[in-house]
């Protein structure tokens, strides 16, 4: 894809051979790593500060969160399938896998809404209960926001594809960008699930 762009505009060139938008996305994601790095560190520091109030690790429902984590991981697979479908020119397949990815992402978000509701209403752990709960909600809340933005981007691509009966070459690059972002959000969740849920529950 990058090659086609370069050929059709032979006078201009990308010095690295990577399209600007893709390079920009990589650069942006490198910053996002520090964003979540700060949030995760924050949780690791505060995770035990509860002063005899309810602490996040006591309320985790590990089997439930494992299931929703699995759903999110599967969405990375469907994202790759969408990308692959487009690269072999299968526009219908692209649409299907895009929708599937958005759907899996939404299921994950639904799981998070359910989890938050349960923590707040049944277990009595709210945003302001203690520094530990604040750090937990800040971290998972920001991650959820990232997933939600990803779902919106996926649905936009799906909508464009439906309206036009397929994605053009440039929109294909956009699909790749959304894919990068989506995989990033997934990878961050793996770290969060491991450090914040699994290890602190042990």
């Amino acid at each position: 894809m990058a090659l086609d762009v370069a050929v059709s505009h032979h006078e201009e060139h990308e010095s690295t051979g990577i399209p600007n938008t893709k390079l920009g996305m990589w650069v942006f994601l490198s910053s996002e790593f520090l964003f979540f790095g700060a949030l995760i560190t924050n949780y690791l520091l505060y995770g035990g500060r509860a002063f005899d109030t309810v602490v996040p690790r006591e309320v985790y429902d590990i089997p439930f969160t494992s299931l929703s984590s699995f759903v999110l991981l599967m969405s990375s697979l469907t994202m790759v399938l969408a990308h692959h479908a487009l690269s072999v020119g299968d526009q219908n397949g692209t649409k299907t896998w895009l929708l599937a990815t958005a759907l899996l992402g939404s299921i994950f978000l639904g799981g998070q809404v359910f989890e938050f509701t349960e923590f707040i209403q049944l277990k009595g752990m709210t945003l302001t209960t203690n520094p530990a709960s604040s750090a937990f909600f800040l971290l998972t809340g920001f991650h959820g926001t990232h997933v939600a933005i990803g779902v919106l981007m996926l649905l936009s691509l799906f909508g464009i594809s439906r309206r036009q009966g397929g994605l053009s070459e440039k929109q294909g690059l956009n699909l790749e960008l959304v894919g990068l972002y989506w995989h990033f959000v997934d990878i961050i969740w793996i770290v969060i699930f491991t450090l914040v849920y699994l290890l602190s529950a042990v």
Binding site: H9, T21, V27, S31, P131, K170
Partner: protein, 665 residues
Amino acid sequence: MTATTARPTSIYRRPAPKTGIWSWITTVDHKRIGILYGYSAFVFFILGGIEALLLRIQLSAPNNEFLTAAEYNAMFTTHGLTMVFLFVMPVTAGFMNYLLPLMIGARDVAFPRMNALSYWIWLAGALFTYSVIFFADVAAPIGVQGFAGNLDPADQSFLGGLPDGGWFLYQPNAGPYFSPGSAIDFGALGLQILGIASLISAVNFITTIFNMRAKGMRLLRMPVFVWMTMVVAFLLLFSLPIIAIALFMVTFDRSFGTSFFQAVSGGDPILWQHLFWLFGHPEVYILILPSMGIVSEVLPVFSKKPLFGYAAVVFAGAGIAFLGFGVWAHHMFASGITPVAQAAFGLSTMTIAIPTGIKIFNWVFTMWGGRIRFTTPMLFAIGFVSMFVIGGLSGVTHAIVPSDWQQTDTYYIVAHFHYVLFGGAIFGIFAGAYYWFPKLTGRLMSEKLGKLHFWVQFVGFNLTFAPMHWLGLQGMVRRTWKYAPEANFGPWNLAVTVGAFTIALSILIFIFNWTYSKRKGHPSGLDPWDARTIEWTIPNPTPEYNYATPPVIHSLDEFWHMKYSEDDEGRAVRRPEADDVIARLEHDGNNPAEEIHLPHPSYFPIIMASGLPLIAFGIINHVTAAGKALIATGAVITIGALLGWGMEPLEEPHEAGHALEAGGH
């Protein structure tokens, strides 16, 4: 591919004014955005300067009653915030915007619309921060139950309503319990908005430098200013997310009742210091490195020699940035961190002196044996090097922990960071302003007034900040609005105040010189300074399309080698055809062979930016219906503009992210 491509018709037609106010509001031209940054930042420089003068009037005599304690707090805080975030950062962003594409031989940055977006977001954040003067809310913050809005309206004054917790917003002092009123909320959310602007710029500049270089412009052929731009962009990229999280935590503490930093409910105020300085120390290199880039351009030109140790200067800049992430706790030696941490951070701080020293020696050796011309930009560049050495050396004294304990929170520290940030960053910025003025206007600034400006500023600067060293060592503390007559600080403080007004006078000379020279200055021609880098191979003022034909680069200091060769002993000899080369460049640069198609202007950057302050206003008042409505309105505007942005017709199928390809072949 000339401008023959039919533009798709759509309701989202792109604007195309070339003159008038709308052409500036919708511009995506990196040069115009650079000029917008420069002028707006200068307005804030004046504001920050007035704040400094008010502080100095208050301190000019013992037990002075000119400002109240609250007003004094607000003035030093806002002075710091303004000079760091609303002057030095944006004005250097202005230089980068204007020069970066010219120096790498590009037609624009990688993402022209995002470039406009970062300017408008910056302006929105700046205006939002200052708008606390008009929208101060004594009922804020509203996070802590039963503690909300305990600010007595009688305590409010016009100046005292500005942010007042220090530019570092130390917690819990700047938390909900000790800083009632909305001033800190405006400060914290304003910084958040400014951070978004810088992050977008950083992504844009890095992509531009990696991807948009002219043919032959290898990384180690780039001017040092481009290198420093890249280093600064990486510093922003890695430090901004940390301050973003820390500021979110402050906003949550103040507006939503969490207790991240409130010791009274289990939070850890020291964590704020770590997070703030983990951003804050790289931030000081964000402020100084662009000026280091500027003087690395100016010194060789006026010494008629190549930059001594080009690669060393480049890698030293990158080294400073890298080490800059490992020294933050030297701001916290008096905060009760462990002795091991103090020793480690003391050592790591000293290592910063190594790459800094490399740079200083390379600048000195650049001048050594050169044919030096003492023009105004050169004077400011030499002023930079000498003042920065003083500030750098007093900085090393802070790396020695027991010495730092004595200096912490005294005027010695104030003297140090003004020597590096004013004597350093701002002298460098003026060097750049005089040096590149012809690129903006096609005219030269008055040398006579320029030299007067330099000497008045140089004397005023030293009169202001040198005595602060001894005041500090005598024990005068920072951030205190009064001192007793018995302390005997009066005479030197009066001298400092006189110095501050001398600086103000020098700035007035600069403003006069700028406005006068813009209209009446001597025409500069293409190459007024006998310059070395390729931004001077195109006519002045810069044509809208930059390069009529994309340049091809063969070496470092490309333009110099077009004009000069070497004799047997390695001395520079002007080629006989040099004047013809310049005349040809002037002619070709003004007469492109084909029509050049530039990216179209866009309404959406300014619309998108305008939503952010509304959201921030809403967060401060989120318990009221009006607050919720503001958040919703801001979100609708921003997301709507994003959609419009995405659906805006492109003048060509591949325009987005490929601005350059709009160029004619």
